[in-house]
C-alpha cells in the first residue's frame, strides 16, 4: 500500500478537469476520459473486455464506470493496484460482498466504491434467458453493469456497487431466487460440471448433490466461523472437468466399481474406422495400469487392474461407458500455492453410493463429522489439507470414523518410525 500511495502522489493527474462534461453540458464529447493504455486491449481478434466496458459506460453514463476506467488506466501506467478491502454486508449475513474502496479516491472520486456481490449460480452454470435478463436488469438498476462469468470459485461476480445500494439490490435479487456466495473463513460457493445434463460419463447426479449440499451448509456459507475457507467441487467422473482435486478442499468425483461397459459392435466399428495401429497406440498402450490386452483378436479389459482413469472411455466414447455400480470418491485437501505450496486432494472415501436421498444424507453427515474434526484440530488460516498433513492422515481417518483402506496411500510407508499398539 505504501508503494501504491507513493506512486499515486508522484503522478500528476493528466485528466484534471475531466468531470467538466459530467453535468451533460458537452453532449458531443465522449463520456469517458482518454485511456490510451487500455485502448491497446481493443485490438486483436479475441473479444475485448475493454471494448465492452467502454460501450457500457458510453451507453449508461454511470460515473462509477468512468472512475474505474480512469483508475485502471492509472494502474496500467504505474503498474500497481489501488483497491483496499473493508466490511460491507447485507442484513443477517457476514459474507458475500467483497468490499473495494479506492486508495486514491482523491484522484478518482468516481471510483471511491466498487464493491462486488458474489452470487451463487445454478449448479452446472445453466441459465435460461429470463433468469439472466432479470439478473442483468436488477444489476444495471443498482450497480455498474459489469459482470464476471464466472469467478474461479464459481460465483457470478457482480462488480461495482456502492454500499448504500447493496441491500436493496440484494433484496431484489433474492426475490428472484438468487443468493449471495461465500467469502472468508466459511463454506464457499461450489462448482459442478455439466453432469447428467449432457455427459455420458456422469456417474452420479452432481447437480442435485451440489444443490442439496450447499443448501445444507447455507448458514456457514453466509456466516463464516471456521479456521479458513472450505470449497466443494462436484465432477461427474474422473476426468474432473471442474478441476476439483486441485482446486477444492472437498473433491466429489463420480466413479464406478464394476467393469467398464463394452459395446463390442462399436469397438469393431472404431477399429474398422481408425485401424489397429490406433487401437494399440492410442488406447491399449496409454492405459496407465496395462489393464487392456488383446484376447482372440478382441480388446479385453481386466477390471481388477483398472483404476478408472477414463482414458479408454475418452478415446472410444461410443464403445465404452462407465460400469453400472456407480457412486463417488471423495478426495480432500486440494489447494493452491499459498504458504506450504500446491497440494492435490488425497483420497479419503474410496466409494460411496450416491443415488437416494439417504445417500445424500449420509454424505452431508460425513461432511459434518469432518468439519467438527477440523474445528477441533485446525489452526487459524490453515486449509483442511494442511491440517490433515500436520496432524496425520491416520489420526484424521480415525477422527472421522473412516476405515483405513490401501487406496488411501500410493504405497505403505518407507520408514519404521511409528509407535504401534502391540
Amino acid at each position: 500500500m505504501e508503494g501504491a500511495n507513493k506512486a499515486a502522489s508522484n503522478e500528476v493527474n493528466k485528466n484534471s478537469g475531466c468531470c467538466a462534461c459530467s453535468g451533460g453540458s458537452c453532449s458531443d464529447a465522449k463520456f469517458l476520459n482518454p485511456t490510451p493504455m487500455l485502448d491497446e486491449l481493443e485490438h486483436g481478434p479475441w473479444p475485448s473486455f475493454i471494448a465492452g466496458f467502454k460501450g457500457l459506460a458510453e451507453r449508461t453514463k454511470k460515473p462509477m464506470l468512468r472512475g474505474v476506467m480512469d483508475q485502471l488506466e492509472y494502474s496500467y501506467n504505474t503498474k500497481m493496484g489501488y483497491w483496499k478491502g473493508g466490511l460491507v454486508t447485507v442484513d443477517g449475513y457476514g459474507a458475500g460482498i467483497i468490499t473495494r474502496y479506492s486508495m486514491i479516491k482523491d484522484k478518482f472520486p468516481e471510483a471511491e466504491q466498487f464493491h462486488t456481490m458474489r452470487i451463487q449460480p445454478a449448479p452446472g452454470l445453466h441459465y435460461n434467458t429470463e433468469m439472466l435478463r432479470n439478473l442483468c436488469d436488477i444489476w444495471e438498476k443498482h450497480g455498474s453493469g459489469i459482470i464476471t462469468l464466472h469467478g474461479q470459485t464459481g460465483d457470478i461476480m457482480l462488480q461495482g456497487i456502492e454500499q448504500d445500494k447493496v441491500q436493496e439490490c440484494f433484496d431484489e435479487l433474492n426475490q428472484q431466487g438468487w443468493d449471495l456466495g461465500g467469502a472468508g473463513a466459511g463454506m464457499r460457493t461450489a462448482v459442478s460440471c455439466i453432469g447428467p445434463g449432457r455427459c455420458e460419463n456422469a456417474c452420479y447426479d452432481n447437480l442435485k448433490l451440489h444443490l442439496k449440499a450447499l443448501k445444507h451448509f447455507v448458514g456457514v456459507l453466509h456466516r463464516p466461523e471456521w479456521n479458513y475457507k472450505l470449497k466443494f467441487k462436484f465432477s461427474g467422473c474422473p476426468n474432473d472437468c471442474t478441476n476439483a482435486i486441485m482446486r477444492s478442499d472437498m473433491a466429489v468425483i463420480g466413479t464406478w466399481k464394476d467393469a467398464i461397459q463394452v459395446d463390442t459392435d462399436e469397438v469393431k466399428a472404431w477399429v474398422a474406422e481408425r485401424g489397429l495401429d490406433a487401437l494399440v497406440n492410442e488406447v491399449i498402450n496409454l492405459c496407465p495400469t496395462k489393464a487392456i490386452t488383446m484376447k482372440d483378436g478382441e480388446m479385453h479389459i481386466e477390471t481388477r487392474d483398472c483404476v478408472r482413469c477414463m482414458h479408454c472411455l475418452n478415446a472410444m466414447p461410443k464403445a465404452l461407458s462407465p460400469g453400472k455400480e456407480r457412486g463417488i470418491s471423495l478426495l480432500m485437501g486440494g489447494k493452491n500455492t499459498l504458504k506450504v505450496g500446491v497440494n492435490m486432494g488425497s483420497l479419503i472415501v474410496p466409494f460411496m453410493k450416491m443415488e437416494s436421498d439417504e445417500d445424500i444424507e449420509a454424505f452431508t453427515d460425513l461432511i459434518e463429522e469432518i468439519i467438527d474434526w477440523w474445528d477441533d484440530n485446525g489452526l487459524d488460516h490453515e486449509r483442511i489439507g494442511e491440517t490433515i498433513e500436520r496432524v496425520g492422515l491416520k489420526d484424521f481417518l480415525e477422527g472421522i470414523g473412516q476405515e483405513i483402506d490401501i487406496n488411501h496411500v500410493t504405497r505403505p510407508r518407507d520408514n519404521p518410525y511409528f509407535k504401534a499398539k502391540y
Binding site: P123, C136, G145, G197, R198, K215, M246, V342
Partner: protein, 359 residues
C-alpha cells in the same frame, strides 16, 4: 444498513435452482446420454439412449462481461437455442439446440458479433484467470489484459483442434495462483521482500496474525520510531506475499520487481497419468502492460514445440515426461537455471534419485 421500511425477508436459498434452466431435451434425457462426437471445432453432438440428439455451439467470451454483452448472448439463445444457455468453467458460453439446422447460422452470427466459436477437443482453451487491477486488493498485474493479449496470439489454436491433446491455460496476478494448475500457466512472481510501512502497520494490522502467516518464520515484532511494528529477515524471506494478504502495510507488489514466471505440466484430469502440479520453466519476465509481449512469446514457444512434438493424447506434462526436461528446454529455446532447482518443502521429491540420464 437496515432500513425501517424494509419489507422483504431474506430467503437463504443457496445456489439458484437448475431445473428451469435446462433445455427440455436435456431434462428429458437427463442421465441417459449415450455418446458424443465433435463434428467440427466449437460444436458438440450428444446422442441420448432415447435417440434424441442435442447440438452444442461453444464460443469464447472475455469473462469480464457487461449486461449489454450478456443480453446479446440471451438474444442468440432466444433465436437459436430455445432460450437456454450455459457457461463452462473456462468462461466459454454454450448454446444447446436439438435442431441441427440452427448450428451453422448460430456460428455465423456469433462470429459476426466477435465471439470466436471453438474451445472444444484438442484446442487451446480460453484461460482460467484472476481479477487483477480491475478489482483485486493484492494484485501485481491485470490478468484480464494478459489473457486478452495471449488469446489474441493463440486465437487460431482456440478455433482449431490441432494440438496433441487439450491445452489448458491459466493466469494469476500474485503467487497465490488463484488461476490454478494448468498445462501452461502465467503467474506473477515477486522478487523482493515486502516493504513495510512502520507508521501505519500497528494501526491496520494484527501483529500476531501477520507473524503467524509467514511460512518460513521470517517476520518478527519490532519497534520503529517508538511505534510497534514488524520486521522481515530478508535472508529468510521467500517473497511469497502471504503476509501482504494479512497486513496491507507489508507491500509485496512492486512496479518493477514483481515479475512474471511461466509454468508447465499441470493437469487436473485423472486420465492416463495422475493429476500433476506444474514446474517453473521461465521467470524474471517483465510485467509489461498493456500487451505483455514477453509473456506471450514464451507461451507461444512452448505451444509450438508441443504441437510439433506431442503424440496423440499426450498433455503437455506427459509429453515432457516422455521427451525429458533436457529436450523440453532445447526445443522451446528456454533456459534451465539454478533457481529452478527446488529448495522448498518436498524438494527431494524433485531430485533425480537414479542413474537415468539423458545426453
Amino acid at each position: 444498513m437496515s432500513s425501517p421500511e424494509k419489507k422483504w425477508k431474506t430467503i437463504e436459498s443457496g445456489p439458484h435452482t437448475y431445473e428451469e434452466a435446462l433445455h427440455p431435451v436435456v431434462r428429458k434425457n437427463y442421465g441417459n446420454w449415450r455418446y458424443h462426437e465433435i463434428p467440427r471445432p466449437g460444436v458438440l453432438k450428444h446422442v441420448a439412449h432415447s435417440g434424441d440428439t442435442i447440438w452444442t455451439v461453444r464460443a469464447g467470451t472475455p469473462r469480464q462481461d457487461t449486461v449489454d454483452m450478456i443480453r446479446v448472448l440471451c438474444t442468440i439463445a432466444d433465436k437459436y437455442s430455445d432460450g437456454f444457455l450455459r457457461f463452462t468453467v473456462r468462461n466459454n458460453v454454450e448454446f444447446l439446440t436439438p435442431n441441427q439446422a440452427n448450428v451453422e447460422p448460430m456460428i455465423r452470427e456469433l462470429e459476426s458479433l466477435g465471439f470466436p466459436v471453438g474451445g472444444t477437443g484438442n484446442c487451446v482453451s480460453s484461460v482460467a484467470h484472476t481479477q487483477g487491477w480491475l478489482h483485486c486488493d493484492i494484485p501485481a498485474t491485470d490478468a484480464s489484459g494478459v489473457v486478452k493479449s495471449m488469446m489474441d496470439s493463440v486465437y487460431n489454436e482456440f478455433k482449431n483442434m490441432e494440438m496433441p491433446n487439450k491445452v489448458r491455460l491459466s493466469t494469476s496476478c500474485c503467487a497465490i495462483n488463484c488461476g490454478g494448475q494448468a498445462d501452461i500457466a502465467v503467474v506473477v512472481k515477486h522478487t523482493r521482500p515486502p516493504r513495510i510501512n512502520h507508521d501505519h502497520l500497528a494501526t491496520i494490522c494484527e501483529l500476531p496474525k501477520a507473524v503467524a502467516r509467514c511460512p518460513v518464520a521470517a517476520i518478527r515484532p519490532t519497534v520503529v520510531n517508538g511505534k510497534r511494528s514488524l520486521m522481515v529477515d530478508e535472508a529468510k524471506c521467500i517473497c511469497c506475499g502471504a503476509c501482504f494478504g494479512a497486513c496491507p502495510a507489508m507491500e509485496i507488489n512492486h512496479p518493477e520487481h514483481s515479475k512474471f514466471a511461466v509454468w508447465v505440466g499441470g493437469k487436473n484430469s485423472n486420465a492416463r497419468s495422475k493429476p500433476s502440479t506444474m514446474s517453473i520453466v521461465a521467470h524474471n519476465l517483465p510485467n509489461n502492460p498493456p500487451r505483455w509481449p514477453e509473456v506471450t512469446d514464451v507461451v507461444g514457444r512452448i505451444l509450438t514445440a508441443y504441437k510439433n512434438g506431442g503424440r496423440p493424447w499426450e498433455r503437455v506434462g506427459e509429453w515432457i515426461n516422455r521427451i525429458g526436461w533436457k529436450r523440453f528446454f532445447e526445443e522451446t529455446g528456454l533456459t534451465f537455471d539454478e533457481n529452478m532447482i527446488d529448495s522448498y518443502r518436498h524438494a527431494r521429491t524433485t531430485f533425480n534419485q537414479s542413474a537415468h540420464v539423458r545426453f
